[in-house]
């Protein structure tokens, strides 16, 4: 019974977060949609299309978890992603801190048309285990980000509605709502602000299943890579209902570092350290 490997650690998936958000970055140009729903979908699709072709990325992620009393916990992760044909994606996440989970690594194969496949590596027992991805609304590593916030948020996983155009911090923005199709989602809807210039998401309001405002995500310090791909340097999630917050800081972004499928197989999972 002394089996430190059982059952799985949480199923983190933060590598996909940016891509997910990018999926919301929407298109400029004339959008002659008849209904708010069609316009919302077009904005989401355009945002997704604009980010295609990034190839592969690697980055470091620093998470600061704050509770009501301003006590802080820090987590450090390394993240690699690889764009795959057919709107698929591979991601490798390695934990550097907290130190008791150091070396733990998660490999995710995300698909547009079927459930994600995930393997977890536990260095203390040298074990690679396939894990079930059934968790949607649970918190990621005790943070205010849920697994579904960190996971793949492809256009197909939601329905949309354009609400209005509105200025946010002096930038013209689309305001769209999206509704998760997954019945296990913890949200009834999300409201996102995207600027019309580059379709970057600046703010998202999350509403719980009772339609009450639950969390607000603010994205700042955007930088452009390869003259094309925008990534935020900071993302802060504030939970209005429990008073906690989580700050994500992204560092050392690298695009097209020459990663291959071999960097995302089960052997590489064992060797990440």
């Amino acid at each position: 019974m002394k089996n430190k490997s059982w059952p799985s650690r949480p199923t983190p998936n933060p590598a996909l977060l940016l891509l997910a958000l990018a999926a919301l970055l929407a298109a400029p140009g004339a959008l002659f949609a008849e209904t708010p729903e069609e316009l919302g979908l077009k904005i989401a699709q355009e945002a997704s299309n604009r980010d295609k072709g990034y190839g592969d990325t690697s980055s470091e992620l620093f998470m600061v978890l704050r509770n009501r009393n301003e006590n802080e916990t820090r987590l450090e992760l390394r993240i690699k992603t690889l764009e795959m044909p057919g709107d698929a994606l591979r991601a490798l996440v390695v934990f550097d801190t907290p130190k008791d989970v150091r070396g733990t690594a998660l490999l995710t194969y995300a698909y547009a048309d079927k459930d994600d496949e995930q393997w977890l590596y536990l260095p203390s027992v040298a074990r690679v285990k396939r894990i079930a991805g059934g968790n949607q609304s649970g918190p990621f590593m005790g943070s205010e980000f849920a697994f579904e916030d960190m996971g793949s948020q492809r256009v197909e996983k939601y329905t949309y509605k354009h609400l209005r155009d509105e200025a946010l911090d002096g930038q013209d923005c689309f305001v769209i709502e999206r509704y998760p199709l997954n019945t296990k989602s913890g949200y009834s809807k999300q409201v996102a602000w995207l600027d019309k210039e580059a379709y970057r998401i600046h703010k998202v309001d999350y509403y719980d299943r009772k339609d009450a405002l639950l969390k607000t995500l603010t994205l700042t310090d955007y930088k452009q890579y390869l003259d094309k791909h925008w990534r935020p340097g900071k993302m802060e999630m504030i939970n209005h209902q429990n008073g906690k917050s989580t700050l994500l800081e992204w560092k050392n972004y690298q695009f097209r570092a020459g990663l291959t499928e071999r960097d995302f197989d089960q052997n590489s999972l064992k060797n990440v350290r």
Partner: protein, 435 residues
């Protein structure tokens, strides 16, 4: 109980010229190299509430252990060197005071293959109550009852990476004997185990063991097929009374459930010069492990067929795991596991898993401190014997972790293998510092 064989790659601690002091130095010196190293130091306290079976055993003990990992990677060459020492100091049990290199290997990764030379840990298998197919490493048996800690295995391992799956070849030139608790330790046999085993192979511990594994996944299915030929990691036990050593063919050589209660066994146990000598057979083992993952369900199977230990046998573990998310309206996840263990040898089996159920649950709070509660019980379907375990752990701050572990044995009949440890109920607390 000390043998006199001079040639040994991995000496047990009392054979080392310097013992505790050197080990303590090793443990304490490791953090001094932090920067290159990462690892942990753990203080452990154990209380055994039931009076021991044997007067040499203690009702409580303190222990200090440490491990660290050092990794060097040569940039852009696909080469790395990994070193992971481990050491433990135990207050009473000088056999539990031991050191080991869990890992010390050089590895080269290329696009279609990987070559590893050195001491390494390999895990095979998918089930939780035991891993039948997992045969490469010897278990570090004295770390805890049912410990899944492993001794580093010397090997050359070539992995071929193909679109149709991985092929792993292992050549293992040296065998490492199982570790046993000493006379002052708990969780041990009623008579001492001689730390000088007998081998079927004329090459003794230098027999070259070979293994092959094919593993792949297709959709929701993960599977592995393995074959092993070499020295069994699980010994049989030969009774030794004074100068007399029973042969492996003796009906009393198998220290199994059906022989525990026999008059000869009881006579043997009462003699002052009784000893058990581990006997390591040459075996062939074929194994299959299989997992289906879908939604909140995971289905698991491990099965082996082994020949060479006096009698051919098969064994299997099959089970299911289901996870409830967000239980009690909280962020917590509750995982439930049910597994059944079977062994064709029945009561002749040298295992507690011949016809047993494992029922377990884990509550993961999903909080900042990664708090979790893990409970499990092994139920013998024939005797009704119960082995209960409960573990709770929580991170304290960023560099510390506290864990509490308990183990209780209930309703153990005299002819069950658990009878040796039925008075070893235990409550253990561990405080770990990570650097």
């Amino acid at each position: 109980m000390c043998g006199n064989k001079p040639r040994r790659l991995f000496s047990m601690p009392h054979r080392l010229p310097v013992r505790g002091a050197a080990l303590a130095f090793l443990l304490l010196a490791l953090p001094a190299f932090a920067g290159d190293w990462s690892g942990s130091l753990t203080g452990e306290g154990r209380v055994f509430p039931t009076p021991p079976r044997d007067g040499d055993q203690h009702s409580h003990s303190l222990s200090l252990s440490g491990t660290a990992t050092w990794v060097h990677e040569w940039p852009d060459s696909g080469q790395r060197l990994v070193l992971t020492p481990f050491g433990r100091l135990d207050q009473h049990d000088n056999w539990r005071t031991h050191a080991d290199l869990r890992e010390f290997y050089w590895q080269k990764s290329a696009s279609k293959w990987e070559l590893t030379l050195g001491l390494r840990k390999i895990h095979w298998g998918v089930t939780e109550s035991q891993n039948l197919v997992d045969i490469i490493n010897q278990r570090d048996n004295i770390e805890g009852l049912g410990s899944k800690e492993k001794l580093g295995q010397p090997m050359a391992n070539l992995t071929l990476i193909n679109p149709w799956g991985n092929l792993d070849f292992f050549v293992m030139p040296y065998f490492r004997e199982k570790t046993f608790a000493g006379r002052h330790g708990r969780f041990r046999m009623p008579v001492p185990v001689v730390h000088d085993p007998v081998y079927e192979s004329g090459a003794e511990e230098w027999n070259t063991d070979l293994a092959l594994r094919y593993s792949h996944y297709i959709g929701s299915w993960d599977f592995g097929l393995s074959y092993f030929r070499g020295t069994s990691r699980d010994p049989r036990y030969l009774p030794k009374i004074g100068p007399v050593l029973l042969t492996p063919d003796s009906p009393y050589a198998n220290w199994s459930g059906s022989s525990i209660n026999s008059p000869i066994t009881r006579l043997f146990l009462s003699l002052p010069f009784s000893r058990l000598v581990p006997y390591y057979d040459q075996i062939d083992q074929a194994g299959l492990d299989l997992q289906y993952t879908g939604g909140n369900w995971i289905w698991k199977l491990e099965t082996i067929f082994r020949s060479g230990m006096a009698k051919d046998y098969a064994a299997a573990t099959a089970g299911v795991e289901y996870t409830f998310h967000g239980v009690f309206g909280s962020d917590a996840d509750l995982g439930a596991i049910l597994e059944y263990n079977w062994d064709s040898r029945g009561m002749q089996a040298l295992t507690n898993f011949q016809n047993d159920f494992f029922v377990g649950g884990r509550l993961a709070m999903n909080d900042v401190n990664n708090s979790s509660l893990l409970g499990g019980v092994i139920v013998d379907a024939e005797s009704g014997a119960l082995a209960l375990g409960l573990e709770a752990e929580r991170r304290l701050g960023e560099d510390w972790k506290l864990s509490i572990e308990t183990r209780f044995f209930v309703n153990v009949p005299a002819d069950d293998l658990l009878t040796f440890v039925r008075k070893d109920d235990m409550i253990q607390a561990e405080l770990t510092w990570y650097f």
